[in-house]
Amino acid sequence: MSPMKTPPTAAETRAALARQAAFAAADAAALDGLLSVRPPEAGPRPEPVWDEATVVSHEVVRERYRRLTLSCGTIAATALAGQFLMITVPPHGGERILLPRPMAIHRRNPLRGTIEVIYGVAGRGTTALAAVTPGQRLLVTGPLGRGFEFPAGTRRALMIGRGVGVCAVMGSVEDAEARGIRATLVASGRTRGSLIGAAECAELGARFIPVTDEEGSADLPALGALLRSEFAAGPPDVVFVCGAGVLTRLAAELGAEWGVPVQASLEAHMACGLGYCHGCAAPVRTDPAVEGPLVCVDGPVFDAAV
């Protein structure tokens, strides 16, 4: 049993809301004019399926997240790095969740036929999802969307994730290991105890750089300086980023300095994940008389350039 949490005070809730609002405003401002739809991929995307995935395990991970391991062989075998799932959340405690929730595929294990997602409990949907137990079956649809792609000839890659955004880039760390690409993952978060990715990087042979708000190392100037020094001898060939607009802007600025491409993964409210509900307008500047790109099918990975 997990220990009972004291409910936050009104002042704590207001502080958290103010933090979220500031983050959202900074995010939107940072992404303005930064993103564009990637050129068409070379090959076809894997065909999406829906499956009754068995929950293999469901556990608390780090300070504030949960890891859900699902047995769904087709998706495990076909998902590309940076693609996502729609998870239909079963009813819990009289609470019905109508819309499936989009979640990045964190790990793929085609041999076992399993995938992992990591999420934070944030609202009604994730609160209900947190109640599922091993052995239960979850309806999932995927793999969906446009993932991260290494440019031809990539030898070194930099991945940057903020919070649970690390999960969106983890598939590319897996691919890097399989292709002999040297990967560096920067995990940014509020506290050391919240960071995801250290164990995964150790397993995959990637360099892991933790940066946090509490230590000041996640502050943008500090992080920029750290990365410039880290890659002083030679820049990475590509940068993948997810989890915060301000980090995406930093990545794009570094990419411009280094002369290398930057790809950024976004999240959005969406209902279908396939493009037909048109719910997930991407923050890409377009002619207002014409519909702009959608996060689910034109992304979630976009090109980012200053």
């Binding site: 809730t13 207001r14 809301l17 609002a21 065909e47 999406p48 399926v49 829906w50 499956d51 009754e52 769904c72 062989g73 087709t74 998706i75 495990a76 075998a77 239909t88 609470e95 019905r96 969740i97 109508l98 819309l99 499936p100 085609p110 041999l111 036929g113 009604r124 949907g125 309806l139 649809t141 959005a268 409210h269 969406m270 209902a271 279908c272 396939l274 493009g275 037909y276 509900c277 048109h278 719910g279 997930c280 307008a281 923050p283 377009t286 002619d287 207002p288 008389a289 014409v290 519909e291 702009g292 099918v297």
Partner: protein, 324 residues
């Protein structure tokens, strides 16, 4: 020894394989004007696209319905375009459209390739705006559904479909442009759904669809800020079913043309609720998001119920229970 990925299957594949055998099924066919549908189940406009055809055997549906096509391209609303509250889903996508020409060139071939009759949803901002779009679409649609009820665009949620005179003039003008069946999709907020349905019938419509999402204003917790970019959106999902059941009941009593029910249908039993109050067909919207196979499951369940009870169709199935 190197491991290879184990052979795998998935629920989608199993679902496709479970297609009922042709000939072994009850005829659930229904007519909308001169258009014969294999069965009375179809998607609600805006909750379907050719992409869903990759996940389900779409050819088991009675029809497909396009996202609303406007005459000229439209961009759609700012984020967030949708949210979920306890009462249901609220959306204000803003109906992005490629316009009639863009629809015909880029989208229509994909809808046509799905197999079932294609009902093209048509939108406009004025009563006289529908006919030119239908003219531009020509013979492409097997039927046209006039979306006079999109609640999130005009005049704070009121719209053309709440005014019988406006409905009559819109339908009469479209009637001059096409011999294909005309369906009028009515809104929830009509002063009299009966008068609106009668106006559609009088002007030559072949069916009415009742209803659409309900204008609503979702707020964020604590801050009470609007939860969607357009402030006002349309509420959908199972919570609106009793509201729409009343409207379908009222409409079906007031006109002779078929009534297509649309509002919170998730299961065959939900569909049977609507059939029992006079609907001839049903549209499924929000349910497809969480359960992509919901529409096909409804068709198969209706078939199975008729087969199990050895009855010829849905009317008999309802009568059988009514007699208890």
């Amino acid at each position: 020894m190197s491991e290879t990925p184990r052979p795998t299957t998935d629920a989608r594949r199993t679902f496709f394989a479970a297609r009922p055998t042709a000939g072994a099924t009850v005829d659930l066919g229904v007519s909308i004007g001169g258009l014969r549908l294999l069965n009375p189940v179809m998607p609600a406009s805006g909750c379907f696209g050719p992409a869903l055809g990759r996940l389900i055997p779409v050819d088991e549906l009675g029809a497909v319905v396009t996202k609303t096509v406007f005459g000229v391209p439209r961009g759609g609303n700012p984020a967030h375009r949708l949210t979920e509250i306890r009462a249901g889903m609220v959306n204000s996508v803003g109906i992005p459209s490629r316009g009639a020409a863009g629809y015909l060139a880029e989208l229509h071939p994909h809808y046509r390739a799905l197999g079932p009759p294609v009902i093209i949803s048509v939108g406009a901002h004025r009563p006289n705006g529908y006919a030119p779009v239908v003219r531009d679409l020509g013979a492409a649609g097997d039927a046209y559904e006039l979306n006079v009820s999109c609640p999130n665009l005009d005049r704070d949620g009121t719209d053309i479909g709440s005014d019988p005179d406006a409905i009559e003039s819109a339908v009469a003008a479209v009637r001059l442009e096409t011999d294909k069946p005309i369906i009028v999709k009515l809104p929830v907020l009509a002063s009299s759904i009966a008068e609106c349905a009668q106006a559609a019938q009088a002007a030559g419509a072949d069916a009415v669809c009742v209803a659409n999402s309900i204008p609503a204003l979702p707020l964020e917790a604590y801050t009470r800020a609007p939860a969607i970019g357009n402030v006002i959106g349309g509420l959908s999902g199972p919570s609106i079913r009793p509201i729409v059941l009343r409207l379908v009941w009222l409409a079906a009593r007031s006109v002779d043309i078929p009534v297509i029910a649309c509002g919170g249908i998730e299961t065959a039993d939900d569909a049977l609720d609507y059939f029992s109050v006079g609907a001839s067909a049903v549209q499924v919207g929000t349910a497809s998001f969480a359960r992509p196979f919901a529409m096909v499951e409804i068709v198969r369940t209706l078939q199975q119920r008729c087969t199990d009870d050895r009855v010829a169709g849905i009317r008999d199935l309802i009568d059988l229970w009514r007699a208890q």
